[in-house]
Chain length 207, copies 4
């Protein structure tokens, strides 16, 4: 198999299986525009590039809000992480070649929360912060053993029904106070707890 | 009549009539929490304060967005303005004593667009810009002959049905390109055209 | 004494003395443009207005930064606070009638850190957050027993020599980690510790 | 020549010459930490990756400000652009593997304005907008025929002496009004004129 399309930012299992399943998947009728417009890239290619160039990511912190926009709950996934742990994390994924930031954000939210989540993507294209993930956990506090990723981070209210995808083991909705409590922070790795704090600070919900 | 409550930022008609109607209104059962928590202030008092202290305002630019948060339309009211003109303007109003910014924003949007507008108040309490209105139009480009107002400005997506209130003569939804065209700009006074440009710039919809 | 000008947001001592000293001060030649352009307001007038309308404030968190803009230190004043305590606080003050936000920010920083502080006022007029102070400490977590103040909050790098003014007892420069440590937080009241956290989150310096 | 290090985002002349000079340069003692930490990448490799993945960039709009942070002038380079034109442009360049956003910003500003420019990199790591450059000029209005680049955009006050580097033919300082005038806009391609407008909007200097 010469070439395949890697559409997910967090491959699970070994690279061959993933590449293989994607290859088959690709040979089905493809209707998702964001996949069609992405360039061909083998898992091997991506692995090599990841050692040489920063990769563009988006992170989304899903929240429930009241009528006046106050954050009442924050959503955290339980999932396998790049560092090998199973821990609490926000939504995160790669931006594909040719894909707009907004569309990547929408795609990853739907992938992780399902098609009925009704996310309200912010009108402002600027992220509220930038999380710079490095293989060395000391550089910035944001750690990704696979790569240097520059992630644009957004707080995204979701209004609909959320169903964690098969990539996630669980989705919990916590109050702001719960989300920054010691025992929840202990379930997060690689700087995800800091990201949650930054999101709550941005939303004026840090106490 | 000794004292009345001024709840609207843009009194229409002469002060006595307004004060009078508000006074009667006040003597009804009052259920709106934002009105109850506001302090008593005669129209005369407010006029005097306006010559001495900056007044806190919120401005909201209502927009229609697509699923990915792109601005497709911007809403402009046609209304009597403080400068005596009837012109295109965004939503604007005073923050009451004891009232949270978010609640003031929601209240003024509902007042101008109706109770079914379903506004999505941003999670971030920080405005995207601050419009400083002065009696002297030369100071900042934002002009209000009545007062020095410091207005926190927000872009607010609305998802529901919008019906202009009796305070407004009309509500139009324009594309970003239409909203900054020469003939629409010519219908705006006091810096409202600049505010529309700033909002579109913030939303990445300026071209 | 009929009328005097209140130029400081945090009067110390009893109102009469302050009013009196200001009155004398006023009768000197006044060269400061921001004072000249402010309207006349007796301490009594201001006290009455404070019970009826939100007051416009600016808060500034002074920081030291390295060449790449990273926050290395955060400055905290030790001063008498509106709640009667002597505690750590950021720079804070009222915006005068006719005064631009930028000029109010510059004026209060110079007042508290001296004329040689060389503050770098941000180019963006939007605050990074809005602190809503209420007489009731439960409403927002930001507490001011005197008034409802809507404060526009900015992080301001200072490059020069800082000398705390006579209004302050002390000025300390702390690392981000020190500034959010338990014993420093214990020296802050009225939500000042939250403000410090929000500022560090905004600067990407929360850990 | 097997491998070389591409340190500049906008190669001039043909790829071979550049690769060659960089190779020689590399064999000198390298003291610049940002170059040392970047990974090896041939011009060919980079060209291939550019057809498959979005590349991380930073754009900086250099400005002169007054004491209160008001933008008085905006700096525009005259340079060869990726589209083959010689036109007005802001500072722009690639983020290297292992490099922090702040350091990339500082490096590109020094490269284009010289070592004495004294830039004030913002404390907030979040860009004020994101410019998404595509090979197809219709997608976003930001055009780069070489690649899909996701550029984090910052307004950066510079206090020192600016000397355009050899990469640039000229550097002009324009007032905000001049910078958005028709004849200056006509000297910009690929959406650079929009970027200037967005920067001025962000700085509250659009009129």
């Amino acid at each position: 198999m010469a070439s395949c399309q890697v559409v997910d930012a967090e491959p699970k299992g070994n690279g061959y299986q993933r590449a293989s399943s994607l290859w088959h998947w690709h040979n089905k009728d493809v209707t998702d525009i964001t996949d069609v417009q992405s360039a061909w890239l083998t898992a091997e290619d991506l692995a090599q590039i990841r050692e040489r160039l920063p990769i563009v990511y988006v992170d989304a912190i899903p929240v429930r809000v009241d009528d006046a926009g106050r954050v009442t709950k924050i959503g955290l996934l339980l999932r396998g992480r790049p560092d090998g742990s199973i821990s609490r994390a926000v939504i995160s994924g790669r931006v594909l070649y040719g894909e707009r930031i907004r569309d990547a954000l929408l795609r990853h939210i739907e992938k992780d929360l399902g098609a009925m989540a009704l996310p309200q993507i912010p009108t402002n294209p600027a992220p509220f912060t930038v999380a710079e993930y490095f293989p060395d956990p000391e550089v910035s506090g944001f750690h990704d053993p696979r790569q240097h990723a520059v992630s644009l981070v957004y707080v995204v209210p979701v209004k609909g029904d959320c169903a964690p995808s098969q990539n996630s083991l669980d989705l919990v909705w916590l109050t702001p106070a719960e989300a920054i409590s010691g025992n929840v922070r202990a379930e997060m790795t690689g700087g995800q707890d800091i990201l949650v704090q930054l999101a709550l600070a941005h939303a004026g919900a840090l106490s």
